[in-house]
Amino acid sequence: MSAVTLTVRGLDAGFTMGGSTVLVVRDVNFDVRKGEMLGIIGESGSGKTVTGMSLLRLLPDNGVTNAAEIDFLGVDLRGLSDEAFRELRGRRLAMVFQDPVGAFNPAKKIEWHIRGVFDRSASKSPAHAERARNWRPAAIQLLKDVGIPQGDNVLRQFPHQLSGGMLQRTLIALVLAFEPELIVADEPTTNLDNIVERQILRLFRDLQRRLNCAFIFITHDMSIAHMLCDRIAVMYAGRIVESGPTKDVFANPKHPYTQGLLASALALEGKTDRLKEIPGELPSPSNLPPGCLFEPRCTFAKPVCRTKPPGMTALEGGRGVRCVLYGDG
């Protein structure tokens, strides 16, 4: 097994509003290894986005992050000054957002953005230095790698002149040039059309294999996680309720929530007369049930689920589940 790139233990994150703190992420634990793609799956309000933002220190000013451990290749990210963190974000960590527009300076052409990345990484090796010096062919090749054949044209354009799919490709090209050791991608294909989405997912797979980096892919779409990720962590109302290798979780989901999500997703694959429903609605983060968070919607709920929040139970094959059906944790 390859080396662990990022270790997260006991991560709590939330927001202070009017003097009180509402935690939307509680006790999140996971590892991401080099060359591995971890999928964090959840609905809106599950805390998946806040998890990613808190790791990269991108929460708004009223954001709160607490953790027992956040270790990135031996660096304790919790103790880092904002200055040092920005430095790290510029060199070794990358984030890809749902909306690629925000990642670009609207007043600068694409070539400016690519040259910036080349210049910043020039000190890494002589090859990098050469790339920064003779940047144009390298940039065109880079764009070709992400499926933009007319790179020469694109280099001379401003971000707003490119379509959403093209911009996301260009952003992936930047990340590719930048060679980070950890990438966090938050719903990067949600705004794209089916066919373009498929192409971009291919690029992500390609990107991760080339860079052999650690990759956290945040999504609400089970089928994307299925295609792309080596391991997944399913979040519900701020907690990870199930984690494990993607194949195993999909073949044999343990948590009733995962089972419900998969049942309705899989039912759509073929011809069904009726979709399996998960009854009820997501709980509000300011008014969580006292016991298991999924208890009000769970068909297997027992009396104990109403009072005592279940811990994470470790199962065979690197799996874990937060449910009393599998031991007390």
Partner: protein, 328 residues
């Protein structure tokens, strides 16, 4: 079950949007109109669910809103039970409004933030004198329970409900008018994944129970497959293929339909083989002649560049707009 007589007939519908107006139009050399919907015809029978599938910009929502007369069509006719409503004024149109309803994509913004559920549901009842004034409350209760909500929701404001609950209210509002046709515009795409199945099942149940016709607009092929009797595929304002759902999914004829269906393969292996790149999409503001799908089509031949192909029958009820659908 599906009845033979068409409830709705759309013939040669054209919808255009002005891109530039006034001084900007005079100064600019570029095109001034966007053909959002270009020469589209189809029927919807009583009790039928027709899926309109396509990507953003394909014109599927525009068709829905134009046939409801929320947008003015540039050309073409809209027949409802044989009556031409294409150019009807607001007064004459009012009795037909009841029959044609819509469920919107974003349930929160489809309800007036200042009105309670009671007000939202009472308005159509009173406006169309659907029931006596003292029966309004009972009718509201009935509509809410049909949509699977407790009657206590009557006094809630939109911001006090979740997405799934709001969409149920919106469905209940449409039901109060006992419509013959409902245009459902991506009704679950803004909802949480775990409540989508609830709303899809509700729509299916109501459709079967009351024999409502639905035009179901979606970009999600799996959802279309679950709910629709027939599916029509849109690409940049043109309908490119239409057919019974199972047949279309089993043997798609248009290259675009095939590409779309290709995205349904969810195996990890389907992502291998590096990035396969199709050409740039059709540019509706510059390209004009020829097949819309030309720039991306793997099967293009010389005449594809001369004119957009007419519909050809593949089988009963299954048509495709492609010159080369027979090959491979």
């Amino acid at each position: 079950m599906v009845d033979a007589a068409p409830l709705l007939s759309i013939r040669n519908l054209d919808v255009r949007f002005k891109l530039r107006t006034g001084v900007a139009a005079a100064l600019s050399s570029g095109p001034k109109v966007l053909k959002a919907v270009d020469d589209v015809s189809f029927d919807v029978r009583k009790g039928e669910v027709l899926g309109l599938v396509g990507e953003s910009g394909s014109g599927k929502t525009t068709i829905g809103k134009a046939l409801l007369r929320l947008y003015e069509p540039h050309a073409g006719t809209i027949l409802v039970n044989g009556v031409d409503i294409t150019h009807m004024g607001a007064g004459r149109l009012k009795p037909y409004r009841r029959n044609l309803q819509m469920v919107f994509q974003d349930p929160l913004s489809s309800l007036n933030p200042r009105h309670t559920v009671r007000t939202a549901l009472a308005t159509p009842l009173l406006l169309h004198r659907i029931c006596a004034n003292d029966e309004v409350d009972a009718r509201i209760d009935e509509a809410l329970s049909k949509a699977g909500l407790p009657t206590s929701f009557k006094d809630r404001y939109p911001h006090e409900m979740s997405g799934g609950q709001l969409q149920r209210v919106a469905i209940a509002r449409a039901l109060t008018m006992s419509p013959g046709l409902v245009v459902a515009d991506e009704p679950v795409s803004k909802l949480d994944v775990s409540v989508r199945a609830q709303i899809l099942n509700l729509l299916k149940d109501l459709q079967q129970k009351f024999g409502i016709s639905i035009i179901f607009i979606t970009h999600d092929l799996r959802v279309a497959r679950y709910l629709c009797h027939r599916v029509a595929v849109m690409y940049f304002g043109k309908m490119v293929e239409i057919g019974p759902t199972e047949e279309l999914f089993a043997s798609p004829k248009h290259p675009y339909t095939r590409a779309l269906l290709g995205t349904l393969d969810e195996s990890a292996e389907s992502l291998d083989g590096g990035a396969q790149i199709a050409g740039e999409a059709f540019n509706p503001t510059t390209d004009s002649v020829g097949c819309r799908y030309l720039s991306r089509c793997p099967k293009k031949v010389a005449r594809c560049a001369t004119a957009h192909p007419e519909f050809e029958d593949v089988a009963a009820n299954h048509s495709v707009a492609c010159y080369e659908w027979r090959g491979g």
